[in-house]
Symmetry: C2
Subunit: 447 residues, 2 copies
């Protein structure tokens, strides 16, 4: 890519604009947008104006928000109109949503009334809803049309629609009746009625459904497009698979980061300021730091124990580490299992019982390995017994806590990912110290 | 869903087969497969045989491997033929791949020669390659066809193809020339030549490309179908977006689990045996447990310090916890950033410098909060200073290690996710203890 950028910059310097235009036209819009992201801002407007109208609009929709804003600032009113009329309306709405108020005003002033109405329609839905994600340009057919009439209609309206792969069959009051793929249309006899060959599918989402559920439905049913209906079952828009994939990726990133105790955010790593980074990470750290103080207090209570047997202190990191790791393994499996619908809330006791069995197996092995190590190293059988029993107790406790907390969080309508490694580690730390010193005081006659 | 299952079971008991058939036909195949998964195995064959041929094949492809195997076992040869001839060839290949040898033999014996050849073609590619993921049934057009001829050809071959949304233009030697969407075909004049209206796209993948790269390309270019070519640029298959989504989900699950020190596996939570679960989780635990022993040794070296100042021990969990959390936050951001191509290897020093600044901000706040807490609780200014300086050192060190290790792993062609929380926590634990006791021995004149 570095090479491509250098080539483009060289042509810019030499003002070889027609060569440059031909060169850019050979590239995919996603690649052009990626190259723009790597170039200095002052070169973008010149390059952008070299692109043919449709390529320009598609590229524009794939650029990042900062560069879009910069371009719009330099656009004449007619240029705004040209780009926004060419955009798919869901992309246009996404862009409008990110722009400052004065820019939004200029955009809406310069789009045609129909586009403006559709953008406003999409913008009125809450940010995480199916409504905010949908495109209002789709192909609708009537049940009594013949295949021939349908294909004629498709040819007439096709240029506006984002996808023609699936057409939607609606009644006069826009109520969704079914859908029909272009494949079925092409396979059918031209005199057949749409209502006789359409799919009476009951797969659709509501405008107010969470966008994560939309993505899940697209994935489950392998759909290129899913219809979005309002409370009266009227078709108001469609969501296409590419937007569903983006939602999946964003939600996954959010889950992964939440599991590492990072507050959710929308910006990318380098785009986010240092202060913003620090703020997103420090909230949970402060909470966890102060809860770790509790573990500290518990340790302080056992001062007598490690004053007598100083060697006990040196096993603390191993015990806490193993407990934390076991707990976060269980939590991770349960959180991910729930997010891909592999584990359901009603499986609570099934999960608990499974983790109990797995932890019995694991703790036996870990305990035995530890006992052997301690006997070889210190020749102290009591110490080996104390540490190994503590490991067994810690591993079983950690796995049970690790599997229960995410499910409880979900039951309480919280995001299960909150209950991941950092929080569980902190809870498990305190537990493992209590188990350890309770056992140690018994065997060493301390205190 | 529970309700639907009860309804179906009631109809089964009453032997209302035609009602049952009508009831099942109203449902989506993905839902039927999901319901089968929840029912006892002996009921599946009866229900399955009630489904119409096309619904049966689609449902079959969505069922889990165990149930598929069970059904095949009970199938007559002609039933196998019926189901496998109806399946898309990539789904058929996936199923064949999972079955034991004797079942595979029966399947291949009972499919028609063309299907058998295509299945074998797909099976010869390595498991994680684009070739193993592709479907060999697609629509290919010739550059000199007119739009009218193209549409005629599409109508003729359409029933075999998985998708008609994109048609591929190839030369006589099957070399890929470009692609054309059905939208363009419907928009164009019937006398136009395909070569004049097709897209000379350079977006394709090679048979030996990793399937993760295929998924990334589908996501980047928003493609319903991506062409797969061999080394001579001959078109050999296509990958559709739904298979790409599945790959994305699997890879993400693998990443998330690897980040929690769980060995990669393919089975779902409940399907996997207890022993298998234990084995997947214990490998890393053993490694980490033994490395934690090193931290234990370091602590043992400072016996003199906590013999004099017993209170020092009680801050160990807080320091280790904060260090571990900071390290895993950085590691998580970098690992995820690299997997969505937001952070590249060449950004190494940019990342390092950013994490240094962020850690300076965070450690200052965390140090200050801790100092205040200790002064309020213990009225001990030296202790406050020692602990806060240790926190500052630990946080900066943890974040730098947390961001560097995943990038180094990638540089060494390892999976960055290996360098996540558990491993980093263990490394950072040792580091924080060294920082802590080095500072403490200075200020308290110990040893």
């Amino acid at each position: 890519m570095q090479e491509t950028i250098e080539k483009i910059e060289a042509m810019l310097v030499l003002k070889q604009y027609s060569n440059l235009r031909a060169f850019l036209c050979e590239m995919n819009e996603a690649d052009i947008a990626q190259i723009f992201a790597e170039m200095s801002d002052e070169k973008i407007p010149i390059l952008f104006r070299l692109l043919p109208k449709d390529v320009a609009a598609e590229t524009f929709s794939m650029m990042d928000t900062d560069q879009q804003g910069l371009l719009i600032k330099g656009f004449s009113d007619s240029e705004i109109k040209e780009v926004f009329d060419e955009l798919y309306v869901d992309d246009a709405a996404d862009i409008v949503e990110e722009m400052p108020a004065n820019v939004v005003k200029r955009i809406l002033k310069n789009t045609d009334p129909k586009t403006r109405r559709m953008i406003n329609e999409i913008l009125k839905y809450p940010e995480d809803s199916a409504g905010s994600l949908m495109n209002t340009e789709y192909i609708s057919l009537r049940p009594n049309m013949t295949v021939e009439e349908a294909i004629k209609r498709i040819r007439r309206v096709i240029s506006d629609a984002e996808t023609v792969y699936t057409c939607f069959v609606t009644k006069d009051d826009r109520k969704l009746l079914g859908l029909i793929s272009i494949k079925t249309l092409l396979l059918s006899n031209k005199d057949e009625r749409i209502k006789d060959i359409m799919d009476n599918t009951d797969v659709y989402v509501h405008t107010h459904d969470d966008k994560e559920d939309v993505a899940k439905a697209v994935n489950k049913y392998d759909l290129v497009t899913i219809p979005v209906v309002d409370d009266e079952m009227r078709l108001v828009g469609i969501v296409t698979f590419d937007d569903a994939i983006d939602v999946m990726q964003e939600e996954t990133t959010e889950d992964i980061e939440m599991m590492a105790a990072i507050a959710p955010h929308e910006e990318s790593y380098f785009k986010m300021s240092d202060i913003h980074h620090a703020r997103n990470r420090i909230i949970w750290l402060l909470v966890l730091m102060l809860s770790a103080a509790i573990t500290g207090h518990i340790i302080a209570n056992y001062e007598a124990a490690f004053a007598t047997e100083a060697i006990l202190v040196s096993f603390i990191p191993m015990l806490m580490g193993t407990g934390g790791n076991c707990g976060s393994q269980s939590a991770t499996l349960i959180i991910r299992g729930m997010s891909v619908d592999d584990i359901k809330l009603r499986d609570f006791f099934k999960v608990l019982w499974k983790e109990l069995r797995v932890s019995a197996l694991m703790s036996a092995v870990l305990g035995a390995v530890n006992a052997i190590r301690i006997i070889i190293q210190y020749h102290d059988y009591t110490l080996a017994l104390v540490v190994s029993l503590s490991i067994i107790g810690t591993v079983v406790m950690s796995q049970l806590i690790g599997c229960m907390l995410p499910m409880l969080a979900k039951r309480l309508k919280m995001d299960p990912a909150v209950m991941a490694a950092p929080l569980i580690t902190t809870i498990v730390d305190a537990g493992s110290i209590i188990i350890y010193f309770s056992i140690a005081t018994k065997f060493f006659n301390i205190g």
